[in-house]
């Protein structure tokens, strides 16, 4: 199945950059958790499993995977419903399936399944413009997992499905006018969503973001501490395992949501530039594979995967500098989290898959 020809077209630069980010992540988790802990170990296993997933997603032709996308999509939806009903509760949200030895968070895999599903759906399309019905179908495919995840509740992950749908639909020829109308509708709906759809803690996080000092011990505390961590890092940082904010636990969930703050504190602006550069490189290289893709399916698939990866990276980095409201969104490739790591690396497997098969039939 694996051909030498494909091996030659492999994007080694992208893979190296991805691995570099994983290693930076592990080292900062090591620092934030105080040494070689179980958490670091889990993360390393996550990366290894992720690399296996990457290899699998790379080896099987993406077109074959796309043909099976409706099965994958359905399986994930079932898993999501299972989680919502019987899942393990952590941090107030029902997100995990407990397998005893390890937990799996199906919502991490929804992004991939949705990207695959939508790419397949619009990739098969012959028309230059999407019909109204097509758009409704896309909306339904997106809305089903979005609503389920939103009720876990995991609003952050749920929202990340929206750019996936929009990017694929837009690339496939959704009229710009419609995009404008939907944006307007979204703005008008915002107060209603605020009132009825958001939970208390979510409202609190957003209002605290607008004025962190109003709640310096609660939600605003994390934001202030994140900003202090980043700011105190300076140009060259406090040094590995020397950051007081992370080491002395002023920074909450430092190894997870705020791993980038730890990096900024200990490695300074220099470290931040390196990490930002790596992420930018990864995204640009991936976009390049979308351009090079042999077929529309491949291009849509790459865009669909990137459409959740990129906003998540940008949002988390903003949050870790106290520039965005605190949301339980991790930083892909760096934050602690096995499911997220496996899903992200699998996503890169898909994107690399499109690239190496750009000359095949």
């Amino acid at each position: 199945m694996f051909e030498k020809r494909l091996y030659c077209h492999m994007d080694w630069g992208l893979l190296a950059a991805v691995l570099a980010l994983c290693i930076i992540g592990v080292s900062q988790i090591y620092s934030a958790t105080g040494g070689w802990t179980e958490i670091v170990e889990t993360q390393v296993y996550g990366i290894l499993l992720g690399l296996i997933a990457l290899t699998v997603c790379l080896t099987v032709d993406y077109r074959t995977l796309a043909d099976k996308s409706h099965f994958i999509y359905l399986a994930i939806i079932v898993a999501l419903i299972y989680v919502t009903l019987f899942g393990a509760v952590q941090g107030g949200a029902r997100r995990w399936i407990d397998f005893g030895a390890f937990n799996v968070q199906p919502s991490e895999f929804v992004k991939l399944a949705l990207a695959l599903m939508l790419a397949k759906f619009v990739g098969d399309h012959r028309a230059r413009v999407l019909s109204r019905l097509d758009l409704v179908v896309i909306a339904v495919f997106t809305a089903v997992p979005l609503i389920i995840i939103g009720r876990q509740p995991d609003l952050g992950s749920a929202m990340l499905l929206i750019p996936v749908a929009f990017t694929v639909a837009f690339a496939a020829g959704m009229p710009m006018r419609l995009l404008g109308v939907l944006t307007l509708l979204g703005l008008l709906a915002a107060p209603v969503v605020w009132q009825f759809a958001l939970q208390d803690y979510q409202q609190e996080r957003i209002s605290t973001f607008l004025d962190p000092s109003q709640d310096a011990r609660g939600a605003g505390y994390q934001q202030i501490q994140a900003r202090i961590s980043v700011g105190s890092g300076g140009l060259l940082g406090q040094g590995f395992t020397e950051g007081t904010q992370g080491q002395l636990r002023f920074l909450p969930v430092a190894h997870n949501d705020f791993i980038f703050s730890v990096l900024a504190e200990e490695q300074g602006f220099a470290g931040v530039i390196v990490a930002l550069g790596l992420y930018l490189f990864v995204i640009l290289r991936a976009l390049e594979s979308a351009r090079l893709a042999k077929d529309r399916l491949g291009a849509y698939l790459v865009l669909g995967v990137l459409a959740s990866f990129t906003p998540q990276v940008i949002y988390n980095i903003m949050m870790s500098a106290g520039l965005a409201p605190v949301k339980g969104l991790t930083l892909p490739l760096m934050s602690y989290g096995g499911s997220s790591m496996i899903a992200t690396l699998a996503g890169f497997g898909l994107m690399l898959n499109v690239r190496i098969r750009r000359f095949t039939n």
Binding site: R217, G218, Q225, R227, I228, S229, V230, G231, S232, G233, G234, L235, T244, Q245, L248, R249, F250, A264, G268, F269, V272, I273, L276, Y279, L280, I283, L284, L287, A290, R291, T310, I314, I317, M318, A321, L323
Partner: protein
């Protein structure tokens, strides 16, 4: 596709700029915030100096104790913390909340002490509550607390310590510092307190200390030796307990002014103040009508009764008005200015000279001397003997003793002096109002032949290089008493104890104790019924002043019995003290005194009926103008 690339590049460029702004442009500011996050300055308390008695016995020391504080910086819900902490420790939540409210203007990281000197059980219960999770804002700190003798002893002498008051902070004490609030603790606070140190520490987000950055070690307070003799102090207090009345006593070396024993009763337990007193105890101490917080030895002022006759005798002899052989015929009373003043002995003493007048405490004899002297001469000689104003003892808040004069009366009341008032004054009633400490100075002056010593309680200080004797206070004054004056006074005082006098209860074979009793009315005869109806205490105060031995006295002092009715009851206390003193001098076993296990409180007013059974041999009668 290019548009997407540009969008991503712009977004990352914006991120890089934001991080530049935070990390480089505003670095200083955030670095400072990070430091104030995790660096704290903690006070390291200096150990307070230990107090020793004159023989090196420890009187007041320090012990380990625990304070429980709330650090508001880590408080999420103050009421929850308080109610949880109160239920664990069994403290009063309302009071705890009140304590926190009083410190609200302090920095949030400053621990607010809510349980002072927590018991070990409380500390264990609190520590068991996983402080990091359930009570992240609760801090248990170990420190040193004052340890006073378990059985309250010399409470008013030692005084107590407490957190610096607002006034003390204004005068330079640091906020929250433990400073002496009364007694020796206050008088010698500077020596005892030492200098608190500082520790610069790194704390984690829960406020727990991680490591020390640097430390300025505390300078411990100096050790201080008092002139007090523990055994004598105990003997005096035991004497009072045995006798069953309250009052005050001051025993000293008559030639140096070194105080050997300092008593004010009822006492209190200074351990209750050592780390802060609870509201209830404080309120009950303050509202107690026996006023246990009053230091009677230096703050209580009482009419001296017949002990004052020594002053009148001295004045008359020194002024040359009479000679010792001057004899007065006492037939039980005498009339002055149209009023009849009675003597203590209903039938009269017959013909008495001055020695016998002192021995028997004949009022008529001293009425006549007083009348001859006039109040101003009495005032003058009172001052020379140490009875006017302050004695200058090295303890805080001494009250001035008062012996009236024509000038004094004009200045205080604007009225002129009536010669009749002098008659009452000459037996120590009327406006004469003296502190026990001034009485101790007076009897010492008579004992040592005219040197007015300044009583003091500090003997030596160890400032780190071993004991150094404290400089003795300056002599307050000297009056060269005529030898014959001294001989008459010493004879009369010896006879009062050893012949047919009023103070035979102080007699110790071979010790030649010299002493004089006094009983002072607290209300006039006319006022007595009214006072009784009011429910006031009307029983007389009893005094006993003494020195021993008569030749070259080594020990002198005063026993004041509050409402104990008879001066001679104090003589018994004095005898136990003197016996203890000589036993120690001669390295014999200390004399035992059976202390009845009765609480040391004044009898209730139910015993009125007993109070006024006349015929008990009081040595003094009731002067017409006796008031207090």
């Amino acid at each position: 596709m290019t548009a997407l690339k540009i969008a991503v590049v712009v977004a990352f460029g914006a991120l890089a700029l934001s991080f530049w702004s935070l990390q480089v442009a505003q670095h200083e500011r955030y670095l400072e915030m990070a430091e104030s996050n995790h660096q704290r300055t903690r006070t390291v308390r200096a150990s307070r100096g230990v107090l020793f008695d004159r023989n090196g016995q420890v009187l007041v020391e320090n012990r380990r104790s625990f304070n429980v504080s709330i650090v508001r910086e880590h408080t999420r819900d103050l009421e929850r913390t308080v109610s949880l902490l109160a239920s664990i420790s069994g403290a009063d939540p309302a009071q705890m909340l009140d304590t926190v409210q009083r410190h609200l203007n302090e920095p949030v990281y400053q621990p607010i002490v809510v349980i002072e000197d927590a018991s070990l059980a409380q500390v264990t219960a609190i520590m068991a509550r996983r402080l990091d999770f359930e009570l992240p804002d609760v801090l248990v700190e170990e420190f040193q607390t004052r340890q006073y003798p378990g059985q309250p002893l010399a409470a008013h002498l030692f005084g107590y310590v407490g957190q610096a008051s607002a006034e003390q902070v204004a005068n330079g004490a640091s906020s929250g510092a433990i400073v002496g609030q009364s007694g020796v603790e206050r008088a010698y606070n500077e020596l005892l307190m030492g200098q608190d140190g500082e520790r610069h520490v790194v704390v984690n987000s829960m406020g727990r200390e991680i490591r020390t950055l640097d430390e300025v070690p505390p300078v411990d307070g100096h050790r201080v030796q008092l002139t007090i003799d523990y055994d004598l102090q105990k003997a005096t207090e035991d004497g009072f307990k045995h006798a069953g009345f309250n009052g005050a006593a001051l025993i000293m070396n008559p030639s140096s002014g070194e105080v050997l024993s300092f008593v004010s009763l009822p006492g209190y337990d200074p351990n209750g103040f050592a780390s802060g007193i609870d509201h209830d105890t404080w309120a009950s101490l303050n509202s107690n009508e026996l006023q246990p917080l009053q230091n009677r030895a230096i703050q209580g002022r009482y009419a001296p009764g017949s002990t004052f006759k020594l002053v009148v005798a001295t004045a008359a002899l020194e002024e040359g008005l009479v000679d010792p052989e001057h004899t007065v015929n006492c037939d039980g009373g005498a009339s002055f200015f149209g009023r009849y003043y009675r003597c203590g002995l209903a039938g009269g003493h017959g013909a008495v000279d001055m020695r016998h007048a002192i021995e028997k405490s004949c009022n008529v004899y001293f009425y006549r001397l007083g009348n001859m002297l006039g109040v101003d001469k009495i005032h003058e000689w009172s001052e020379k003997l140490g009875l006017v104003g302050l004695t200058g003892i090295d303890l805080p808040n001494e009250q001035e003793s008062i012996v009236p004069s024509t000038k004094w009366k004009r200045e205080t009341t604007g009225e002129r002096w009536y010669p009749g008032e002098t008659i009452s004054v000459s037996i120590g009633q009327g406006q004469v109002s003296l502190t026990p400490v001034s009485m101790a100075v007076m009897i010492s002056t008579i004992a040592n032949g005219g040197t007015r010593v300044t009583p003091h309680v500090i003997r030596a200080v160890d400032e780190g290089g071993g004991w150094k004797m404290a400089a003795p206070p300056i002599i307050s004054g000297r009056v060269a008493l005529l030898p014959e004056t001294l001989s008459v006074l010493h004879d009369g005082l010896w006879m009062a104890v050893n012949a047919e006098g009023t103070a035979s209860r102080a007699r110790i074979t071979g010790r030649d104790v010299a002493g004089k009793t006094g009983t002072a009315q607290v209300v006039s005869n006319e006022g007595r019924q009214a006072a009784l109806r009011r429910g006031s205490e009307v029983r007389s105060h009893g005094w006993f002043v003494f020195f021993a031995p008569q030749e070259n006295p080594q020990i002198a002092g005063v026993i004041f019995g509050e409402h104990n009715e008879h001066g001679y009851l104090g003589a018994e206390v004095a005898r136990h003290v003197i016996e203890t003193y000589f036993a120690k001098q001669e390295h014999r076993g200390l004399p035992a005194l059976e202390v009845a296990p009765v609480p040391n409180v004044a009898p209730t007013r139910d015993s009125e009926s007993v109070l006024f059974v006349d015929g008990l041999p009081t040595e003094d009668t009731v002067p017409m103008t006796g008031t207090f």
